[in-house]
């Protein structure tokens, strides 16, 4: 979740309310306080609300909720007279561009910090790490319109941001941090997009890096914003958020004409988003029979407007998809903490799942037999699962890109996990008797099958096959009234000659035996161990 840092005194001034009141209300516009000190607070905002990505945006919402300034914010735009000519060769590379101008700015350091932080969040969120959308901010005073958004070859050179001499597109892609991080968006393209002005000054090589000539500083009074994207809608959304934020900062907005080979668009379009306004839906979803006037008041506090049976959302609200989204705005404007909970009485009898009940009984019986229950991870590592048992890993089920190799493959048995658990407890008193009831996975055609197993290990100087069998017989008898049969068998977990298959009513349930010395050694457990593993789903079937 993106985070924005708020200076409390600055925010209090923007909102026109005390710091205490603001801190109390932040959660009620959907912001989670991550950390706070006496001067500032860091809040997490939902990725669907990038308009809350600066203190200006948060202040705008808080002024509404606190009744200081309510209703739909209006945004005036005037044509800037600037045109961007789009090269048709970019259609397959990065087809869309949307721009705006903000003039009359007077930015301080914190303003610049907030805007840059919003730009980064937009890159990572809606921009999908700049792949879908990228933003460039420029000092308009350094630009000579008209501009062109054009395709250039990899030999094209310009001075990148904070650079001293010209670099080629190719060298930026291969040698710079930005190029290596974001360059893969071009795949195998032979042409690359740049935005340049009538004098040939390069503003940007989207989505990689800006040019150095048009860098924004606190001295910037007139700002030019470019948004390039792979979808027109995403680009328009991001531009709307930036433009309306710059308007809050005090900028006067100017539109830019985007001239495609076959059409011309004017951006940004900041007309409100319209959704059907359904009073009955509002009342039934919230569960409050509010009069229309009060509902309108709630919407106004959420910075929404209403025209007849149409709800109007400010253009920066990119999260409004369905009339239920209007319902939530009413609830927020009303105040979530003012809504009184009602407990819904139950008309249904309810029931526990019989197999879950069975698993719970297995736990009770095993604990009663003197065993400690373990709950280990289903995702484990190759060493404990395969290598320590000297068995091939050809049937393994692995996950893609695990963050830790300790959790990279799904277990196909519980014994390895229990052995790993014992290896972490060699300093605890022996005898150690443990069990686990857990899910295991086996490969099947192009999917996996899941089973519930019971695994059990006893480890101490006298641990033996017989002791394991004693527990196994008791468990099967107590849980299912079954007498089990053990027949000499081979299994990767157990020593040859000290291993048997377990069957009941001629149904194979699992295996029992003494652990191989090599395995015990591989896990660093210094005492003999024996145990068993059976399929609880099958045991349950036999019970029924």
């Amino acid at each position: 979740m993106p985070v924005v840092r708020l200076e409390l005194s600055r925010l209090a001034e923007m909102v026109g309310a005390g710091e205490e009141r603001i801190l109390d209300r932040l959660p009620y516009i959907g912001l989670d306080i991550e950390s706070a000190n006496s001067r500032s607070v860091r809040v997490e905002y939902s990725p669907n609300r990038p308009d809350l990505g600066t203190d200006y945006g948060i202040a705008r919402a808080l002024r509404g909720l606190l009744g200081k300034e309510t209703g739909l914010p209006e945004f005036q735009t005037k044509p800037s007279g600037i045109t961007v000519i789009v090269d048709r060769k970019l259609a397959k590379v990065r087809p869309y561009i949307a721009c705006c101008v903000a003039t009359g700015l007077d930015l301080d350091d914190e303003d610049v910090r907030q805007i840059i932080s919003l730009q980064e969040d937009l890159h990572n969120g809606l921009g999908r790490k700049r792949k879908a959308v990228a933003v460039g901010l420029h000092d308009l005073d350094e630009i000579s319109p008209p501009l062109s958004y054009r395709a250039v070859p990899s030999t094209f050179e310009f001075v990148p941001l904070d650079g001293e001499k010209p670099s080629s597109i190719r060298s930026i892609l291969y040698d710079s941090y930005e190029g290596r991080t974001y360059g893969h968006v071009f795949d195998r393209s032979k042409v690359f997009p740049v935005i340049s002005d009538s004098k040939g000054t390069v503003l940007s090589f989207p989505p990689i890096i800006n040019g150095n000539a048009t860098k924004v500083t606190t001295r910037t009074r007139r700002m030019f914003v470019d948004v390039t994207s792979t979808s027109q809608k995403d680009g328009d959304d991001v531009l709307a958020i930036l433009a309306t934020t710059l308007s809050e900062v005090g900028g006067k907005l100017g539109t830019v004409a985007i001239s495609y080979p076959n059409k011309t668009r004017v951006t940004p379009d900041l007309a409100p988003t319209e959704l059907p306004f359904d009073l009955d839906l509002v009342r039934s979803v919230i569960g409050l029979d509010l009069p229309r006037r009060e509902i309108l008041g709630c919407l106004a506090r959420s910075r929404m407007g209403v025209r007849g049976n149409i709800a109007l959302g400010p253009r920066y609200r990119i999260d409004l998809l369905h009339p239920v989204d209007v319902v939530e705005e009413v609830a927020l404007g009303y105040g979530i903490d003012r809504i009184k909970p009602v407990f819904p009485p139950s008309n249904t009898p309810g029931a526990l799942n019989e197999f879950e009940e069975f698993l719970d009984s297995v736990s009770t019986v095993m604990a009663g037999a003197g065993m400690i229950e373990m709950m280990t991870y289903e995702l484990t590592d190759r060493k404990s699962l395969y290598d320590s048992f000297e068995r091939p890993s050809s049937e393994k089920v692995t996950v893609q890109n695990p963050k830790s190799l300790d959790h990279s493959m799904l277990r196909d048995a519980l014994i390895p996990c229990l052995m790993a658990a014992l290896s972490g407890n060699v300093k605890s008193d022996y005898p150690q008797r443990v069990f686990e009831i857990g899910r295991i996975y086996t490969r099947a055609f192009d999917g996996v099958k899941e089973f519930w197993h019971l695994g059990c290990l006893v480890a101490h100087s006298q641990a033996s096959y017989t002791e394991a069998k004693m527990y196994l017989e008791a468990v099967c008898r107590l849980l299912a009234g079954l007498e089990i049969v053990t027949k000499a068998a081979e299994h990767w977990a157990f020593s040859p000659g000290r291993c048997a298959s377990v069957t009941a009513k001629e149904e194979g349930l699992g295996y029992i035996g003494e652990l191989r010395p090599g395995t015990i050694d591989a896990f660093g457990v210094g005492v003999p161990a024996s145990g068993f593993e059976i399929d609880l789903s099958k045991l349950y079937e036999l019970l029924k």
Binding site: P344, G370, E373, M374
Partner: protein, 493 residues
């Protein structure tokens, strides 16, 4: 401390009583036990005041090496003809040792060297060297330090410094029976008392008129670790019973699902950071080939693209079947609720599942790759946000977490969305306990559900940490036997 005696104590006391007092070694022999057993028994007996233990330290001198100057003077005096310094040096193995001995003998005035080029060595003070010799002899003979004259003591102290003589200390332990011990001993050997009740004694009736020999009822018993259920299992049991008491039916389902059911059916767009944000485990090289764009799948696909007929704008992108076919370890149990919704045509239902979810996380004190969620849904005509709030408040109260607050939040599949927060005394702040909301029409309508669905999916670990006073989630699944064996049973209830 009880006066009852352990068998070892009885044996030692019986051996000691006739002797009155004895050195430790003699007692070990008399009791026919090993040293450790006798030592332990004596410790217990002494603490009961039945024996007294005294120890004394004796020190004696031991000759490490003869002073080399004795040998040197001896060589000089015994030589058939006078020796020169050079000849004398030749009789020593080490030139260093010769120099030291020669220097010392000459410095003490025991020998002198004639003037002149011959350098003949002669004995100068035979009596002087004799006093050193006599001290060395008496040390070898075991003469005690206390019996030495002050002159002898001076020589000894010099020899000690030079490391030619050392002091050896021996400690002797002597044990004596006390009066109380004598009485106890006679009682302990009373053959009339029964040591241990046996079936034979019971059968024969020989117990009649006899008493059991008192034992030490205050002694520590050996440690013992009863079998136990896992605390997480107990907590899950409790959650299931709370759900049952509120009229819910339990679901069970697989951990592996197609991305379709885990994400698409919940209106999570295919390129949403949510699919990364939730740090999903996708199974390597496996997919649900049976998933086709028809029926529910087709409806969900349309909802993503343009809202289908739900009244939504949709996400406005081209939905891809391949992405939906990928197999994932479920990132939330809402997938079970949604599958249940798609299968039931009931207009009223309450279902829940307490099971594992999986996230591709680096493990730390507040993140696990596998953990439990206790998801539920409530389906029914007329259900609304207030019912959701009412249910959650009551549910958490029943789980021991009174006074939860509800804050707005965001999930792609619910609107409105609320998160439950509870106050943590340990962290002195409000902690997120779980998300909830009313399913969006984009979720319910493709499944053919026309009535409101309230849904929630809280984790159980944070609640458990608060109960057990733990600060690290990894502790719950760390398989630490010491904790599993010794944790307080009631901490979790």
């Amino acid at each position: 401390m009880s006066n009852a005696l352990h068998p070892l104590e009885r044996r030692v006391l019986a051996a000691l009583a006739p002797l009155g007092s004895a050195p430790f070694e003699a007692l070990v022999a008399a009791a026919s036990l090993n040293e450790d057993q006798v030592r332990r028994a004596l410790q217990w007996l002494a603490s009961k005041g039945l024996v007294s233990i005294g120890s004394s330290v004796e020190s004696r001198l031991e000759l490490v090496r003869e002073p080399p100057e004795l040998d040197l003077v001896h060589q000089v005096s015994q030589a058939p003809a006078p020796l020169t310094v050079g000849e004398l040096r030749g009789k020593f193995d080490s030139p260093d040792e010769f120099s030291a001995a020669f220097g010392r003998a000459r410095g003490s005035g025991w020998i002198k060297v004639d003037e002149g080029p011959a350098q003949v060595v002669r004995v100068a003070d035979a009596a002087g060297i004799e006093s050193l010799r006599s001290v060395v002899r008496s040390i070898a003979a075991g003469k005690a330090e206390d019996d030495m004259t002050s002159e002898e003591a001076g020589i000894v102290s010099d020899l000690l410094k030079r490391g030619l003589v050392r002091r050896v200390e021996t400690r002797t332990t002597t044990v004596a029976v006390t009066d109380k011990g004598r009485i106890s001993s006679s009682l302990a050997s009373d053959a009339h008392l029964i040591d241990r009740l046996t079936p034979d004694i019971l059968a024969s009736g020989t117990w009649r008129g006899r008493k059991l020999r008192p034992i030490d009822v205050e002694a520590k018993a050996p440690s013992f670790f009863p079998g136990r259920r896992h605390p997480v299992r107990d907590f899950i049991r409790e959650v299931r019973e709370v759900y049952l008491s509120m009229g819910f039916t339990e679901l069970q389902g697989d951990s592996v699902h197609s991305a379709f059911w885990n994400f698409d059916a919940l209106f999570i767009p295919q390129d949403h950071p949510g699919r990364e944000m939730q740090d999903t485990f996708y199974l390597d090289g496996l997919s649900d080939a049976a998933l086709k764009r028809s029926g529910v799948v087709a409806k969900v696909a349309s909802v993503h693209e343009d809202g289908w007929k739900t009244g939504s704008r949709g996400w406005g992108y081209r939905w891809r079947l391949e992405e939906a076919r990928r197999l994932v370890l479920r990132t939330h149990n809402t997938v079970l609720s949604v599958k249940a919704l798609s299968e039931t045509k009931e207009r009223e239902a309450r279902v829940f599942a307490v099971s594992k979810v999986y996230r591709n996380e680096n493990l730390d004190y507040k993140h696990l790759a596998e953990f439990y969620q206790m998801d539920g849904i409530m389906v029914g005509e007329g259900l609304n946000v207030r019912h959701l709030m009412g249910f959650l408040t009551e549910f958490y109260k029943k789980l021991g977490m009174a006074g939860v607050k509800l804050w707005p939040t965001y999930f792609p599949y619910t609107e409105p969305s609320l998160q439950v927060v509870g106050y943590s005394k340990a962290f002195k702040s409000w902690i997120e306990l779980g998300g909830s909301g009313v399913f969006r029409p984009e979720v319910t309508q493709p499944l053919g559900v026309r009535v409101p669905v309230l849904a929630w999916g809280p984790g159980i670990e944070r609640l458990m940490l608060m109960r057990f006073g733990l600060e690290d989630m990894r502790a719950l699944y760390g398989s630490d036997l010491s904790w599993l064996r010794n944790r307080g049973e009631l901490a979790g209830s």
